[in-house]
Subunit: 267 residues, 2 copies
């Protein structure tokens, strides 16, 4: 079985939808995205490819979103299982909204004309304020992630910037911070923006060993010590925190957005 995610745009929507749909099934499936299928020629070519695969006995499944009605008709006419992911919902949504769908509408993952992509600013901010690099910019931060080295701060900051346009700084808690009473001074004025990450000591030991084997830094004892200390700080200072051990970057980020009442920055 082979599955295609097809679109005249990026095919990201078809891919996200199709993969989520397939996650309900316990099957192993080859997957391929076919973005920018935006001419009739390309559509006919794709149909022919499906037909050749069918003749070789390959089963194929196609999830598609196509704005152009003519191109859509070609794909719908293919001899394969082709599913328009919006198909059955479009007309109930038209009714609910009380306006008709536009045939050649704005692409979901394109750039909005005339609106500057604020995510680029947010990404630059996350890079400039990674790992405590520049604490003087914390006034501008919407959130400041705390945690020990390798607890997931950097990927989370970048995901928050990339997906939501959120300006996220991150500050590494180290032994220097454990030996002072209360919060590090640079963080005090920003307490309402702080969010802590933690992780299981065994997992941290494993990650740090991959980076610097047989070091004090990677030792199980050191990992346990640092995590005990940061969790004590989070509790004492009533900083909300999350254990990232069994969570993907997507899950960590959506939980933070919800817990900190952050909302996506548009444009």
């Amino acid at each position: 079985m082979k599955v295609y995610f097809v679109s005249d745009g990026t095919a990201i929507t078809a891919e996200v939808f199709g993969q989520a749909m397939l996650s309900f099934f316990d099957v192993t499936i080859k997957q391929q995205s076919v973005p920018f299928l935006s001419t009739l020629d390309k559509a006919y070519g794709f149909c022919q490819q499906l037909q050749e695969e069918a003749e070789k006995g390959e089963n194929t499944l196609v999830f598609f979103t196509i704005s152009d009605p003519q191109i859509r008709a070609v794909i719908e006419g293919c001899e394969s299982h082709c599913y328009n992911i919006f198909g059955d919902l479009l007309s109930p949504i038209e009714k609910a909204l009380g306006v008709p769908a536009q045939p050649n509408a704005q692409k979901a993952h394109g750039i909005k004309e005339g609106i500057y992509d604020g995510r680029i600013d947010a990404i630059n901010y996350a890079l400039a304020n990674d790992d405590g690099a520049s604490v003087k910019n914390y006034d501008e931060a919407e959130i400041i992630l705390l945690g020990v080295s390798r607890s997931g701060k950097t990927p989370t900051s970048l995901y928050l910037a990339m997906q939501y346009g959120i300006k996220a700084a991150n500050y590494p808690l180290t032994e220097d911070d454990f030996n002072t009473v209360g919060l590090p001074k640079v963080l005090k004025p920003h307490k309402h923006k702080l969010f802590g990450l933690t992780i299981d000591p065994e997992r941290l030991h494993q990650i740090r060993t991959g980076r610097m084997a047989a070091s004090k830094y990677a030792s199980a004892r050191q990992c346990r010590y640092e995590l005990d200390e940061v969790e004590a700080i989070y509790r004492q200072e009533r900083i909300p925190f999350l254990n990232t051990t069994r969570l993907s970057v997507e899950e960590i980020s959506t939980r933070i957005m919800a817990d900190m009442h952050l909302s996506r920055n548009r444009g």
Copy 2:
């Protein structure tokens, strides 16, 4: 009109699908994600909130994906327009695949148990190899992006890493490179991995002015000069390239994946 994207997981699938669906309509809509709606209590609470909004005359629309059948039933029973985004397609897909859907299946955006998230490695790689920082690691790169300063290399490298687990380095082309014949020496052994970015001079002038107004670096003349030079290099060396002016990071990245025949790294 207010739209909710609801899930017992991250709600990313519901949000991507719902936003793409709404992009067909020329309406202004308040949007809110409701992730981790994973208990019956939370489901009843959400239904009550919808009802209160309805009583205030607010129209609401709900796009949802919920694995747990009991929680799903509560949401389906709400007095609002609630759409299960997988609803109508699940049974045709079951037939096409020949296996039944699992009621409490793997979450689409969760972590795969026992599989290390290779994207973290790819993100660390992109950060360590940003802006020509460490050309000695180019053997490990799957792609090396070229371009002048502020043509979109960094966000694109990070998106390729975050979404696809692709190890993307990037190398800034500067006046030093224009004055030598042929490709910079460090790039020569990796010619098959090179991909060029370019951008309209007016747009580059605007971006650089935002960063360093009234500098030679930001001047229209300098922008035009640098872009003429890099495009000449791309053509001479037959390096595939793309103008990023009117493209989102998603569009740039999916085009590169397709043009360079790269595929998503899994686990």
